[in-house]
């Protein structure tokens, strides 16, 4: 059981340059992120606050924004792809 996580360029300074990583034994997005926080020092402070995500952070599972799913409780399966991206893009 392994989930792939795509890391945006803005966070690669805390992931040692890694653009993609894998988290094993996580069943929800929250557990995937906890796995990353354990592994990468300083990551939690950058994207999380008060137990949730900062407001300018978007997280997707299989291309779908987790706010349309169950947020941090969204279930993940073996082979799923989790993408972290800045929210501050696009628009007029």
């Amino acid at each position: 059981m392994s989930v792939t996580v795509k890391i945006p360029t803005q966070l690669r300074s805390v992931t040692g340059g890694e653009a993609e990583t894998a988290v094993d034994e996580a069943t929800t997005v929250g557990e995937v992120l906890d796995g990353l926080y354990d592994r990468f020092d300083g990551l939690r402070d950058r994207i999380a606050e008060d137990g949730g995500l900062r407001r300018f952070v978007n997280v997707y599972v299989g291309g779908e924004d987790i706010r349309f799913l169950d947020g941090l409780d969204t279930a993940v399966d073996d082979g799923d792809e989790v993408t972290i991206l800045p929210a501050v893009a696009g628009g007029c």
């Binding site: 795509k6 945006p8 360029t9 803005q10 966070l11 300074s13 653009a19 950058r46 994207i47 900062r54 407001r55 300018f56 952070v57 978007n58 997707y60 291309g63 924004d65 706010r67 349309f68 993408t83 991206l85 800045p86 929210a87 501050v88 893009a89 696009g90 628009g91 007029c92």
Partner: protein, 409 residues
Amino acid sequence: MALEALKCKECGTTYPLEARYVCEDCFGPLEVAYDFSGLDAAETRRKIQAGPQSIWRYSDFLPFESQPRTALAAGVTPLLRADRLAERLGLGEVWVKNDAANPTHSFKDRVVTVALAKARELGYQVVACASTGNLANAVAAHAAAAGLESYVFVPADLEEQKILATGVYGTNLVAVDGNYDDVNRLCTELAGEREWAFVNVNFRPYYSEGSKTVAFEIAEQLGWELPDRIVVPIASGSLITKIARGFDEWREVGLVAGELPKFNGAQAEGCSPVAQAYEAGRDFCAPVKPETIAKSLAIGNPADGPYALDLARRTGGGIDAVTDDEIRTGIKLLAETTGIFTETAGGVTTATLAKLAERGEIGRDERVVVVITGEGLKTLDAVRGSFETIDVDPTTESFADAVGVGAAA
């Protein structure tokens, strides 16, 4: 010179003026910071008045050390006093800022011309964007004029007029099987992988500065005065917040005096994450799946939503949403009273003005400006079937049969 740095709107961390848009510490948006303390109001005003008939007359407030040269200009669009519209709505003084009168017929020419000038300055060869249509037109056109290669990403179900008015410029038009938010996510990922200037992703801090020129023009055209209220459409919320910033900068320098106008945001009910948050008293926007004819406003995950909410609240304005039928009625109302044919986004804005007037929220002594952001010929489906032609044979008898006998000449 006034240009200082890129600065995080959330935590204040500063960064050099390069292709960067997100704070690495908190993920907040970066914005261009200036120091206007060296600007003298009278001198700046003279300089503006002697400047070119384009947004570059406001160069002191744009993110460049010196006035850029661009192949395709933008801005200095008409501000028209709309007495018939005011009368119809029972209002005292209404002005229409008609930004359809730009090179590619929407306000996007302003932001794109700024972004492309910056892209060239920083040495980028390829420009790109995620677009709901108007931006696609503008990026394709300005890139063509500047001789830059471009990639334009749009949702595949976009209005045909907007697709045609993009492809004609010889861009690489990428139709994405998904909605705008999917397109945006794709471009955000690509911006991390390719050395391209995505005007509304990694160049967003510069791009969005172009929207301030809407405010500058309105103030200049009103005789260096501020309106009492302004009605602006909201998609991502960038335009409305940057118009406020433009007015604030001119208040700071002393080019205009008085309070910030009341800001009223306008959304389509089928995509109204900001209006819903306003109604619910929240300071954040829950994303939605767009379902509206106002495709140019169909952003379900608005990046500047929190700032638009704050602006509407602190100025005593508000944020409203209108139905697709109200949008169609709004387009007709503007056309029939001002001679301006706007696209669906302008229908949203006009319908919101009508709604505010109906609720009695606008005083008769108020000077109101309505920002019309795009051209009706781009969204023809919205008016199809909204009237009937008078069909006649080419004879005076047939015409008389159809319309009745007129008074003697």
